[in-house]
Amino acid sequence: MIEAAPLPAIRRRRWELTRLLSMGFASLAALAFLGMLALFAVQSLPIWRHAGMDFLLGESWFFRAQRFGVLPMVYGTLAVSAVALLTAAPLGIGAALLTAEVLPRRGRLAIKTAIELLAGIPSVVYGLLGVLLLRNWMHRLLSPWEPLSGDTLLTGGVLLGVMVLPTIMTLADDALSGIPAAQRLAARALGLNRAETAFRISLRQALPGLASAVLLGLGRALGETIAVFLVIGRQDNQWPQRLLSLQPLTGAGQTLTTKLGGSETFLAYGDLLHWGAMMGLSLVLFGVVALVNLAGARLAMRRDGRA
């Protein structure tokens, strides 16, 4: 690493073209991202002026009546992501335990390769499978609760869970494999069996890394648009009638991302207030995703000991 020990007696010209070029390109990149954020902030001013906190706390969204409230969409986003994590985290961590603790080197490599490849399946393909297959299965599965169709929050959540499964699995495996093999060998030599080694040695130490894996998977789930768009029903104002009721999960819903990816963005294009509301949505989405990923990244850095 260049920073560990300063390179001795390096000649630095007073100005370096390379340095300027690199800084220039990097600044351009930073400008693009910060510019996006600024765009959302500035263009959402109309809605803050119009509704203020009611935008964030409002329970209904009727754009024709100029009523804009994001709470049902935030609920949809969180509900779908929660279902996704509940399906993906146990499966992913369990499978990672398999590859990191149990399987021999070849087996681990084979499964890891397969999973890494499958992590790249485009979301529209997941969406297609959701529409053609998952939707009907969920409709049949949920029939005791009489859903209107197979397009429900639950369907979106399950699809999303399958999508983030490879991410969680890979990161969890990385976290568990970071535990030195020497510790495992020592534990086995002392007479601990595989389960005990896994729980007492690996899991305990890898906890930050596992938490980071789940958080980063959550981050990805929060930002997913296309696959969820196709199977969620896109119905506004779905809000649980009673606190902690699970009823909305069996009905259609709307998330922050599916609203932005739908045709209302085109409709809002010319109208200052409506577009301001859509920009407000973008800002909220940005904020939520940023928070979750910040937490996940911090934990990942602690895990790697990157200083």
């Binding site: 024709r64 009546a65 896109r234």
Partner: protein, 285 residues
């Protein structure tokens, strides 16, 4: 490094060349009802006269007007009459609607509802379903099954025609929480694949095999079917014009397309897709 430099240079030259010789395409945007006709006309004109035409249906009728008003399109396709609201929203534009045909908006249901015995609805019944007061098909003479109303997105021409009929004015339509569908294709798909489903759809898209168009029960008890004959003589209340809109009188390539649509060949396309021609002719069913 040199290789990358050369690559960038070539790229830059291509860009510049492209910019210099850019031919402005004709951009069309709007309703999914009018789209099949215009898209096919565009393909013919592309093949015969080499015109570059882009057709897009992402926002429906209202999206088309928005694109026209914003200057993002030269022609808007709408499946409803042009409203005052459209003109006030874009005061600088001079919208000129040109009718290319007529169509009927029908309430379509899935197969099980039709087979269950529901073949027509009155306005009061439709209002009841829309507002959630009537929840089961049994209340309307059908089988015991929950009514699933897929509401067309409020920006769609089909929805506006429906709202005009059911409530007199789209602004007066109550704000409801219903699952929404966008394009005609999506509405057809959702209704066909969901039991107990009903939605608003162009009557010519109801094929009588997967989805079925209901008749309208008028106040005097007579039932009017959404047939094109009823549209022509005005007895079906949910009739609507199919129009293309330009900003100012059509010029150049826009004029070429509009002229084609109004010509016998273009009108034959209108009939081919199941709509009523401007003259009132319809394809033999």
């Amino acid at each position: 490094m040199l290789r990358t430099g050369k690559l960038l240079l070539t790229f830059g030259c291509l860009l510049a060349a492209g910019l210099a010789f850019a031919a402005k395409p004709l951009r069309i945007n709007g309703s999914t009802t009018v789209n099949p006709v215009v898209a096919e006309a565009a393909e013919i004109l592309r093949a015969e006269r080499g015109l570059t035409i882009h057709v897009d249906t992402q926002g429906g009728s209202s999206g088309g007007i928005a694109a026209l008003g914003d200057g993002r399109a030269e022609i808007a396709m709408i499946s409803r009459p042009l409203e005052d609201e459209d003109r006030t929203r874009y005061p600088k534009a001079h919208f000129q609607p040109i009718r290319i045909g007529s169509d009927a908006v029908a309430l379509v249901v899935s197969r099980d509802v039709w087979v269950g015995g529901v073949h027509s609805l009155s306005k009061a019944e439709v209002q009841g379903i829309y507002e959630g007061r009537i929840r089961s098909w049994r209340e309307l003479g059908g089988s015991e099954r929950r009514i699933v109303f897929f509401n067309k997105e409020p920006g769609r021409g089909t929805w506006e025609v429906f709202a005009h009929w059911a409530y007199g004015d789209p602004q007066k339509a109550p704000l409801v929480n219903l699952p929404e569908v966008g394009a005609n294709e999506e509405a057809l798909n959702k209704v066909a694949s969901t039991q107990g489903a009903i939605s608003q759809l162009s009557s010519s898209w109801a094929d009588g095999k997967r989805v079925f168009a209901l008749g309208i029960k008028k106040e005097d008890g007579k039932v009017v079917q959404p047939a094109l004959t009823a549209v022509r003589d005005g007895s079906y209340p949910l009739a609507r014009p199919l129009q293309v809109v330009t900003d100012g009188p059509p010029r150049g390539e826009s004029k070429a397309l509009v002229d084609f649509l109004l010509s016998p060949r273009g009108q034959a396309l209108v009939e081919k897709h199941g709509y009523l021609a401007v003259s009132g002719k319809a394809a033999a069913r």
